[in-house]
Each structure stands twice: as structure tokens, then as C-alpha cells.
């Protein structure tokens, strides 16, 4: 159990008309002077899946970070309604308001930790010069509605999956043959869907990744801002990342050695095991501590994925 409890925490209403709700957590040890905005969207638990945000905030306090965990509109104590979930529409206004609140607290160096679509919200506000690190926990790499990921994938994703099936010889079983046929059908359908469409997502310069993710990442790479991609080895989104690395993510990943991929055991997207939640907290906190030097310390070096 974390030594930090709610005593170090201050609930706050913020944003336009105080519509939003969050909890500020103060460092319990020596303060680093860094405020971390914890962004969650894709889960209706106001504290994150199995209290992920609460655990992370209290762990970060132990490590000397300030943090703000908050609810997007329509979740928890924040007013408003959820308009709907779509990879291309992250809750950006809330993310900007969260960073403004941390600035109003007098914190001059900021970081974002976003879970699922919350990661995209963090990237959307990444142009601010005082944001010095971004952690993306199981981020959505393509633009799709819930249950629509299969249709959003490019043909290449299905073909890569088919290649894996062939390598594993899983088509020897009836289930494997059905899956292989489904992949072939999905690849053909994806080719047909993308025929003649403008190259906004999944094609062109940002091939196989959403422009809303690739474009800010290119900017962060140019500025050498530390970025963490954290996935579970059972995450379907990890497959999306591996494909995007061959496409639209290739440039930023080559350009910066500060963009890091970490893969932990289990399923980070839709966490189904509390032990995975603990690993997410540990990995994120360790990365933040290593990536954001205290004022006066030399910048740490990280390896490219």
C-alpha cells in the first residue's frame, strides 16, 4: 500500500464554469517542481480501472511529483455529457483546462499521462513548451468508434496477422482456417473502403496511424521531448503500434531517441488483472522519474524502440 493517502490530496472544480472535477495531489517527499496531468478516457470509473489513477497519483506523490487526476465531461463529478467515443475526437478541452490548472498552481514544468483515448488528448495539447514529457498508456492509434477497430484497420494489418497465422501453422485447425479466411476478407474490404478516399488517416505520410497521433509526435520528436508508449503484450493496440512503426511512426521514431516503447506482461487496454495495473503504475512512475531530470541534473539518455 502506498504511504500516501488522501491527506495529501485536494479536490477541485475547475475549467469553464467549474464544470470539471479533479483531485490535486501534492508531493510527500522532496518536490521536483513537475506537475503531471493524469488523463483517462475510455472507462467510466471516475478513479480509473481498479483505481489506476489514484494509485498512480499517490505513487507519483511519493516520487516528488505534483499531479492532477480529473474526469472528462460526463464522467464522475464533471458536468456535461459524453458525446461519444471516437479515436479522432479525444477530450482536448478538458486536457487543456487541466494543464492550465496546474500552471495556476505555480507549476512550471508539466507532463501528461494518458490512458486509452486520454493519451490522444495529452498529445493534442503537446505543443505547449512547458510540457516536458508524455506517457501514452495503451493509446488508440487509429480513428474508430468502439467495436469498430477491426473495420478501421488497414489491409496491411490483416495481412500481417495472416502471415503470423501461417507461421504458427494455426490454419491446420478449423478455427484457424476460419480466422485466416476472415482476415483475407477483411483485408479485401479494407482495400475497397480506402479506394479513392482522401489520405487523412491511414494513408499517405501518416500511413497506418491516425494523423492526430502522428503529427504531434513528429513535433515532439523534433523537440526531443520524452515520450513513452506503454502496452501490454496481450494488447491488440500493440499490434497496431508495430504496424504503425513500419508506416507513419517510422519518421518520428527514427528522428528521436527520446521516444520509448515499453511492453509489460498482460493486458493494459481494458486491464483484466489488478497485477497489470500495479505494473502500469510502476513502469510509468519509473519512466517519469528517469525522463524528467530535476532542475540542474543532466538529461537522461533513453534508447529508441
Amino acid at each position: 500500500m502506498s504511504p500516501v493517502d488522501a491527506t495529501a490530496e485536494r479536490p477541485v472544480y475547475f475549467g469553464p464554469d467549474d464544470d470539471l472535477f479533479g483531485v490535486l495531489t501534492a508531493p510527500t517527499g522532496a518536490a521536483r517542481g513537475v506537475g503531471v496531468a493524469l488523463m483517462n478516457w475510455g472507462n467510466w470509473d471516475p478513479a480509473g480501472p481498479d483505481r489506476l489513477l489514484v494509485r498512480l497519483a499517490r505513487r507519483l506523490a511519493d516520487d516528488g511529483f505534483h499531479s492532477l487526476r480529473y474526469n472528462v465531461r460526463g464522467v464522475g463529478e464533471s458536468r456535461g455529457r459524453v458525446a461519444g467515443f471516437h479515436g479522432g475526437s479525444p477530450p482536448v478541452d478538458e486536457a487543456a483546462a487541466a494543464l492550465d490548472l496546474l500552471r495556476a498552481e505555480g507549476i512550471t514544468r508539466l507532463a501528461t499521462v494518458g490512458y486509452c483515448l486520454g493519451a490522444r488528448a495529452g498529445l493534442a495539447v503537446s505543443a505547449a513548451p512547458d510540457v516536458v514529457a508524455h506517457a501514452l498508456l495503451a493509446p488508440v492509434l487509429l480513428d474508430f468508434r468502439p467495436t469498430d477497430r477491426w473495420r478501421a484497420l488497414p489491409a496491411a494489418a490483416h495481412l500481417v496477422g495472416l502471415r503470423g497465422d501461417l507461421r504458427r501453422r494455426s490454419i491446420r485447425t478449423p478455427d484457424g482456417r476460419r480466422r485466416a479466411l476472415r482476415r483475407l476478407w477483411a483485408a479485401a474490404a479494407a482495400v475497397e473502403r480506402h479506394r479513392g478516399r482522401p489520405p487523412s488517416t491511414g494513408r499517405g505520410r501518416h500511413r497506418w496511424v491516425a494523423t492526430g497521433l502522428a503529427a504531434p509526435l513528429e513535433d515532439l520528436a523534433a523537440r526531443r521531448v520524452p515520450v513513452l508508449f506503454l502496452f501490454g503484450d496481450a494488447d491488440a493496440y500493440l499490434d497496431d503500434f508495430r504496424l504503425a512503426r513500419l508506416g507513419g511512426l517510422r519518421r518520428p521514431l527514427r528522428r528521436s531517441d527520446r521516444i520509448e516503447l515499453r511492453v509489460i506482461a498482460g493486458q493494459v487496454h481494458r486491464i483484466d488483472d489488478p497485477a497489470v495495473g500495479r505494473r502500469v503504475v510502476d513502469a510509468t512512475a519509473e519512466w517519469l522519474a528517469a525522463s524528467i531530470p530535476a532542475v540542474g541534473d543532466p538529461a537522461p539518455s533513453t534508447s529508441a524502440p
Partner: protein
């Protein structure tokens, strides 16, 4: 870091919301009070727990806002070991009742001398029934699809988790490997349910909803939400038993295709909230006209 509660007041309705922490360091409970300009009654909402929070939290918020429009103050809370509250090694119904009593005390301090009612949400019904029984007065009790006991709540959860995994493509071997979570839990083995750690103390609790309700004296309403057109047999038996014992007990079935599921937009809550507020208003008094008004959450206002 001075104030322990955040406060905001709606400029149109004069309703004040206060969210913050109750209790001593190490045992702090997160609570949210919704206080209309003038209130005729006070309502404690006992939440559900574990994975259910995803399905119920926003509905509890909607209920609090509707109660305020009907002139009833309310308090919601996160039990220790859940939500924003302090950690608790083994979340239990007894600990939840202590937290509910702390929330009730905060509500009484904010709006003294008002008649009290209690709403229990699914597993929170077990806590709500005990809280009402301890009040002494004949406090009305609303139970949103309550669990007859903790074991039933967990059993339903594990069954739903199994179905989710089946639909997600889990093999028969994978499902068989996780066949007896209740037995493993009883043996003290850590067990996860939809990604949430299930505390062993929950299973050890032998209190039943029936005993809790029978210990009280006030009217009881059971509300069921889901695709099923009839009240579940287990709940029907309970309600009939309470009515046969002379209690003012009834049930409402709200048919909805999504039931307790949450969707990509907003959990279904309108009918659930309307029935609950209307029933409480009839027993406690309140503003009739305001309760049926449009839900201002749509516009972002309270």
C-alpha cells in the same frame, strides 16, 4: 493544500455541490454532497463496488442532480478501498457501513433535521438496508436491483466476466482454468473480477438483504433495470415476503435493452432516476414541478 472540500454553486438553481474527504488521515472517505437552495429531505446513496462502479457511478450522479431539482439534498460516497477514498486492505460490507455512516453525518451537518431516506445501488443495497435498520426511524429505502447477498453479487459478476471472455474469443481451456473463482476466493486466493481485485472479506460476509430490510421499518422500493420484463424470481420472493410481513414494499421493472451496461455515450438513467425521485418525493415531500424538468447535465449546467 488547505481546503478539504471543493465547492461550486449553480447560478441558476442555487444548488451547491461539495466534493471532498471525510474522516481522519488514513481512513478518509471521498464524499459528494448535492445541496439545493432549500431542501425538504436528505438522501444517502450507498454505491455499488468493484467493476459495478463503471455501470453505476454516473447514474448516482444523475440521481443526485434530480433529487436536488426536487428539493432533496443528497450525499454519495466512495467506500474506502474504492474510488478516490483511502486505501483499505480488505474492503468489506462492515467497513462500507462505517463509511455510509460518515457520509450520513456529513449530510446531517449540512442539512440538519430533515427526514432521511437511503438508496442502495446493487451491492450497495446490502449496506443501505443495514444503514436504514440502524436509523431507528421508519426511513424509506430504495434498492436499485439489489444483490440478495455478497455471494450472489460476486457470482453474477464472475458469470458476466466469463461470458465477456467467451465473446472475446477465449478458448475452452482458458475458461476452464478459471472455473471456480468463488472457491479460490474462499480459500484466500487473490481473484480478479473484470480487472478489479475482489477482497476475500466480501465473500465471508454472511449478511443478507432480507435480514437487513426486515430489521428496518420504513417503506421499500425495488427497481429492476434491464431487458427482462418481469421482476427476477429472487427479488420477487423478497418483495412478496416483506409485503406479507406488513411492510410497504413494492417493485418497479424498467425495461431497457442495455440494462446496467454502459455504452459509448451515456448510461441509461432517465427512467431509473424519475421513478426513484417520484417515489421518494411521495414519501418525503419535495418540489413536484422541478423534478420532471429537463436534465441540465445536457447543457453542462447542474
Amino acid at each position: 493544500m488547505q481546503a478539504r472540500f471543493a465547492t461550486r454553486t449553480d447560478r441558476f438553481t442555487a444548488t451547491t455541490e461539495r466534493a471532498g474527504f471525510l474522516g481522519a488521515p488514513g481512513r478518509q472517505v471521498f464524499a459528494a454532497l448535492t445541496l439545493p437552495g432549500t431542501s425538504t429531505a436528505a438522501v444517502v446513496v450507498c454505491p455499488s463496488i468493484l467493476h459495478d462502479i463503471e455501470h453505476t457511478d454516473r447514474r448516482e450522479v444523475a440521481l443526485a442532480h434530480a433529487l436536488a431539482r426536487a428539493g432533496m439534498a443528497s450525499v454519495r460516497f466512495h467506500p474506502r478501498g474504492a474510488g478516490h477514498s483511502d486505501d483499505l486492505a480488505d474492503l468489506s460490507l462492515d467497513a462500507m457501513r462505517e463509511d455510509a455512516e460518515a457520509a450520513l453525518a456529513a449530510l446531517r451537518e449540512a442539512v440538519p433535521d430533515r427526514p432521511i431516506a437511503v438508496v442502495g445501488v446493487r451491492a450497495g443495497g446490502l449496506v443501505a438496508a443495514r444503514l436504514v435498520a440502524g436509523l431507528g426511524a421508519a426511513a424509506p429505502l430504495v434498492l436499485w436491483e439489489p444483490a440478495p447477498d455478497a455471494r450472489s453479487f460476486l457470482k453474477d459478476g464472475f458469470r458476466a466476466a466469463r461470458m465477456t471472455r467467451l465473446v472475446g474469443g477465449a478458448t475452452a481451456e482458458e475458461l476452464d482454468a478459471d472455473r471456480s473463482p468463488l472457491e479460490r476466493l474462499a480459500a484466500g486466493e487473490p481473484v480478479a473480477l473484470h480487472g478489479y481485485r475482489v477482497p476475500p472479506a466480501l465473500l465471508r460476509d454472511e449478511a443478507t438483504l432480507d435480514a437487513g430490510v426486515r430489521a428496518g421499518r420504513g417503506a421499500v422500493l425495488v427497481v429492476q433495470l434491464g431487458p427482462r420484463p418481469k421482476l427476477a424470481p429472487a427479488l420477487r420472493r423478497l418483495v412478496d415476503g416483506w409485503a406479507a410481513g406488513g411492510r410497504d414494499a413494492g417493485a418497479v421493472v424498467l425495461e431497457h435493452p442495455d440494462g446496467w451496461l454502459v455504452t459509448a455515450s451515456e448510461p441509461a438513467h432517465e427512467a431509473l432516476v424519475e421513478v426513484t425521485v417520484g417515489w421518494l418525493r411521495d414519501r418525503l415531500g419535495g418540489h413536484v414541478a422541478d423534478a420532471a424538468g429537463a436534465d441540465p447535465m445536457t447543457a453542462g449546467a447542474l
